[in-house]
């Protein structure tokens, strides 16, 4: 499939205060269900525990991020998403749920750099409390005028996701915020 499938910005990069990179094809599955009832199915399919509010839990096959009281997002390899949907359908037979492959509906970016600088760059575009954000939490927020979500893979690496249609806007926003000369020195 690789010749005919491309991500929103095809791995585009920019550098400045931090390094920005569009992360290519990523797998995402939206699961809506009674989260406590679906926990064992999710564990079976992903290896990850059902996350608490705003948490991301990691498993062997995928990570699971809490999106709302009745929704999680499963992050996996792009090629595995359909299979995960099918396995969930199997494991949740008889349980009211909705699982759908949404891998192509979003764009994902990585930002890497010094911990404080990384948070400063992000704090230019999200009203979420960056000082309080630590690894293991997915924060749904807005990125200036677009909806998005942020989490920290580590203190020095962040991930940002947004809808595919605004990938160019969000990439440009991140690149502008990271442009040299704009250090804030806050976080």
């Amino acid at each position: 499939m690789s010749e005919i499938a491309v991500s929103a910005l095809n791995g585009e990069e920019a550098s400045g205060l931090v390094t920005l990179r569009e992360m290519g094809l990523q797998g995402m599955v939206t699961l809506r269900a009674d989260l406590s009832k679906a926990a064992s199915a999710v564990k079976k399919v992903t290896g990850a525990a059902m996350p608490d509010r705003r948490a991301i839990s990691a498993g062997k096959a995928a990570s699971v991020a809490w999106m709302s009281p009745d929704e999680v997002m499963i992050l996996c390899d792009h090629a595995r998403a359909d299979a995960i949907v099918a396995e969930l359908a199997e494991a949740l037979t008889g349980q009211h749920h909705l699982a759908v492959n949404v891998s192509d509906a979003r764009a994902m970016f990585s930002l890497s750099g010094e911990a404080g600088v990384l948070k400063d760059v992000l704090a230019k575009i999200t009203p979420a409390d960056m000082a309080a954000l630590g690894p293991g939490e997915m924060r749904r927020t807005r990125l200036q005028q677009a909806a998005g979500a942020i989490w920290l893979e580590s203190e020095t690496e962040a991930r940002v996701i947004c809808f595919r249609s605004v990938a160019r806007y969000v990439f440009d926003l991140l690149a502008i915020s990271a442009r040299d000369g704009g250090a804030v020195g806050y976080h």
Binding site: A8, P127, D129, R179, D180
Partner: protein, 1011 residues
Amino acid sequence: MSTRLADGGRLIDRTRKVEFTFNGKRFSGHPGDTLASALMANGQRIVGRSFKYHRPRGIVASGAEEPNALVNLGQGARHEPNQRATTTELFDGLAASSQNHWPSLEWDIGEVNAAIARFLPAGFYYKTFIHPRAFWKHVFEPFIRQSAGLGKAPDPKHTDPDRYEQFYVHVDLVVAGGGIAGLQAALEAGRAGARVLVCEQTAHWGGRAPVDGVEIDGKPAGDWIAAAVSELEAMENVHLRPRTMVAGVYDHGYVLAYERVSDHAPQDGVPRHRLWRIRTGQVISAIGAIERPLSFAGNDKPGVMLASAVRDYLVEYGVSPGDRTVVVTNNDDAYRTAIAIRRAGLDVPCIVDARPTADGPLPQEARALGIPVKTGTAIAGVKGIRGVVAVQLCKQAGEGAVTEDVICEAVAMSGGWSPAVHLWSHCGGKLTWDEAGAFFRPDPDRPPTNQSGEGFVVCAGASDGALHAGEVIKNASAAVSKALTTLGKKTAGNPPKATAPDEAALAPVWMMPQGAGIKKRAKMWLDFQNDVKVSDVQLAAREGYESVEHTKRYTTLGMATDQGKLSNINGLAILADTLNAPIPQVGTTTFRPPFTPISMGAIAGEARGEVFQPLRRTPLHARHEDAGAEWEPVGQWRRPYCFPKPGESKRDAVNREITATRSSVGLLDASTLGKILVKGPDAGRFMDMLYTNMMSTLKPGRCRYGLMCSENGFLMDDGVVARLDEDTFLCHTTTGGADRIHAHMEDWLQCEWWDWQVYTANVTEQWVQIGVVGPKAREVLASLGGDMDLSKDALPFMAWAEGKLGAFDARVFRISFSGELSFEVAVPASQGLAFWDALMAAGEPHGITPYGTEALHVMRAEKGFIMIGDETDGTVIPQDLGLHWAISKKKDDYLGKRAQERPHMTDPERWQLVGLETLDGSVLPDGAYAIAEGENANGQRNTQGRVTSTYFSPTLGRGIAMGLVLHGPDRMGEVLEFARTARDPDSNLRTVEARIVSPVFYDPDGEKQNV
């Protein structure tokens, strides 16, 4: 003449020079100077002209409250008017020019206004509207327009080249103000473990304590300040931010602060300003107090300054206002200025004190230095045309008979101090009048409250009315204790002791002398920038503008760029006196953010150019761009309107696209249309409530066109629903409806039917959806290969199927918006580009033609299909559009059903959908009304119909239109007259005739889509 002294100047670096220009002339100053201190050091006495009378203006203040020293800064694309010289840090190469004069600052033709000042009192502008009537438009307005405004507006052809950004933080406490009160509050809060942000608008910490000779714990204030800053810098939980002004306090602890990142050291690529958007638990407003001018005749002449400003220039910048400075006051604090002047080796001919006695420690110290103190004395007038040359003295108790002249170059005036209560007031904090101090102070019982009803702003120090140094730190300690208690934290207290000489009471002096006649009162300035005098406020009161808000607007007092900082209190005191009312009864006008002006750039932040707004692009955007698309905004999406070939007009492109599609095959990017999954045991029941149609009977593998109405019965969206399986529906919505309809669904599921088992998911962006449309459509798709049977039997009209088309994962819907053989193919968005390319290649032998939204619109109109937003406008119901077939009679209920039973909805007089064909084949004007006999109660011609969609149809070779007409379907063949608009090229013909016809102009039996 003002001048630089040989030594002194805490803030300047005398070892280095900085070069700048003012009105093209070259001057020099020192690092640490403001433009104001440097201009004064160079003897520049006149720095601008006042707004109305064009009177020469000199520097009055030393900080952001400055009303006069407004300059143009920068040139070309960086030109910015109305910059305050007092807050402009000097840098090498700074270029400034004065404002509001022609031909020059020194010789200004606008001075003629001052000569006819008698005819230009407050409110004159409003009177030009009254009489003579005609003069307003042709005589007064052009002249006033020409002379309006202070600075020169930036040239519209320039774009601001500087970089701006915003920054979001969450803290427990914002401390506004870096003087000793703010520093003490920050120390205690920091030690208590709170997250603290301290904002100081200047580049320096400590405020005016060092200038005023305050001692803290027995040592000069400067020592304590340095230690405090060190301790704060070392605290991880405290962040100090100089050059950052707290601009506004808003609901729920939202605070804006304005950081001037590089105004003092401009550099390409470094942001010029940064807007801090802060969410905080509490705010300490420690922004000090603002000194009041005294209202005496001639108080606006260059050389008359605030007493505190005079000593600021002396101590901070080593600049003298003049060899001889008369100090005029109603309080003890101004004596500090006289003492500082003498200590600098300059002359104070006398101190003019309006009070009957002045025996406090400071007046005693002044006398000990040999300065004559004249109590019970006032200034009757100021001599000098371009600036002060002398003052005339009189008795304060009298009406101004001159007792003596005193030669001087400067006058240092003080009418007392007003606590700066702006940040307290922005979000609803109320004030109380302090009779003894003659000022408004924050009323601690009526603070601005947050979402929990708790006060969230506490004032500290002079801002709270604690004007004396000895009270300031104590007050700040109590304030931060209160703020932190609300946050659930405790401060340790134990503040240091600040000492300063005691001060006797001030005497309120709102006019000097107290019995001055009209001639003097017409020369007592309240608002230096807008030229409002004591006589103007009294005139406003006499003309009936008794409310302080009315007086403000009528006289323009406080409406200039300084937002009334020096004029507010003096003005309302005059008003109170004229109305014979106590000052607290008159009250203040509303304090509104920003505290001082902030740049538009900071408010816009990064949002300009490419990131002005989040344009939504489909995955095929680049292909459309390369194909020369003319773009149309559809919400934030950009969709191709048409694809003109080089040299082709838009109209010709649209016609070509339609003809090519109907005769062979066309390609449409339909990716923007909403796609919403609805799944669950109750999905069918839910769908039946949302749509007018019976959706639960739709079989897996089939599609049904559905209508969605609001609860009020109005048609709000339409689209094709596909049944994916027993439990799952896929709803298509209009482009603009995707997010809205998803929200509508979730609203009903979460708030009303929360026990129904239904989940929804908005999957609009997961798939690229392409319409392959026209007689050759099946051939083109089949030529891709794959495993799908696209024949008429396997995939009939209104069915769907999935499988492989070539290498692509496809879901194919046989639906048609054009009336042609039509397949809408959905592939995962990541495959969209490659799929489009494959279709273009496969369709090449058939002349496959990408088409845009306009061709789409025309083709559906040729078939009489409605368009949400054209045939609907929020007042139209399906029954108006002949869509009775889509409304299920079998359902007990659906959203809108009951609403559609109301008398207004079942009224047979409601206009109904028809087609319209002009008799001459022309295109009817959009939105045109069909006229009827007679006039309505408003004297407007009666109407009987309107055009909802109108196009040129290349298929039929004539104009076609759809419209809503009274009894339309019963009047087939009748001719109506439609009114032309003034913009119509044939408007002189008044009306155009059109016949009522069926809205299905083309292929009425629907044969073409059913092959």
